[in-house]
Symmetry: C7
Subunit: 74 residues, 7 copies
């Protein structure tokens, strides 16, 4: 059992994650870093909207207050 | 009688909960962790919209400021 | 006369209250706990929208920043 | 002359005030308490929308961040 | 030259100002007080919407986070 | 090279700047003061919407949290 | 491997970046400075909307809370 929600992000480090934003978009990439504001940095990032890849980005810094949910890709 | 609202989350730990988001979606999963910002981590998570399961996720980290309500599933 | 707004919540503890949310929904339940962020825990909770009961929940933890108003039920 | 905006609320204590909310509703009631977050407690509260009384409430605790304006009733 | 934006509000004290709100309304009144949150108190206040006076208020306490702009009336 | 974003505002002091707001409006004026919240004071201010001058204001105090972008006028 | 999300912005300093805003616009420019609020200063800035250049700006100070994502241009 884990004590803190950030432990889940810690275990996802260097793995593929889906980051879901308040504006309805998703970023899929490798989680390289996060902080207590839930600012995150992804690598090999794909932007998706409505199930379609809309853009390929290398590194993406995402501001925490725009994020709804982060989940390891399955 | 309990003194603090977070006590209710504490009693729900490792139980099924419904997390209701500001964007109208619901996440149903096992509550593994939460913090004072109400950031939560769920396991065996299902995303639902308008009563339908829209996605199955394993672990989901949900940012607290997107959450309206958390209730133990009945 | 009372000095602080939270005194009104304190007097409503263990009584039926209506919690009005920014998204237009209402929760009616027994106020068990609150904190300075106005996070609250209700028991025997009913969700209502436009005057209709839309869901029955047992315990509900409601995040303070989604709340407009709390009033003892009459 | 007064130094701080909260002085105006202090002078309105135990008097009828109109509280105007971000969602367009108004609460008319007797101002019993307020704090630095502009959380307020009213008594003998009427909710109004578009000039009509829509609900009568006894005590109402209103969360400060939903408030636009507070004015003594004339 | 002035060092801080609040100096402009200080020079406007006891003068007529226009306060422009995020909801599109304007309040025209005599600036009696303000604080670092830009909470303000006006006297002899007129509410305006789309160039028309919509309401006359005596004293109005306006919460800072609803304000876009404050300008001395010309 | 500069270390902090506010250095750019410091160099723009007493020069014409465009301030772009979240509500889509622009204010064009001489930057007299700013603080760490990005509250700003302009002089000889013009309000613009969709490329048209909609109002002339003398001094304008603009609350930082309504601002998207500030750029020296060219 | 990097420890903090801001490291990614640090490596992007003096390079071309895309800054994506909550209002749907993009700013493309050379990243000169940023701070912990993710306020940023760009130089040689182009504003884009829906894939089109809508404006050319020299220096642009962008307030952090309007930013969704920052990515080095490829």
């Amino acid at each position: 059992m884990e004590a803190r929600p950030l432990d889940a992000l810690n275990r996802a480090r260097d793995k593929k994650v889906i980051v879901e934003l308040k504006n309805g978009k998703q970023y899929l990439g490798t989680l390289r870093a996060f902080d207590i504001h839930i600012n995150v940095t992804l690598e090999d990032t794909e932007e998706r909207a409505e199930g379609q890849v809309t853009r390929k980005l290398g590194v993406a810094f995402i501001r925490g207050d725009t994020i709804i949910m982060i989940s390891p890709a399955q």
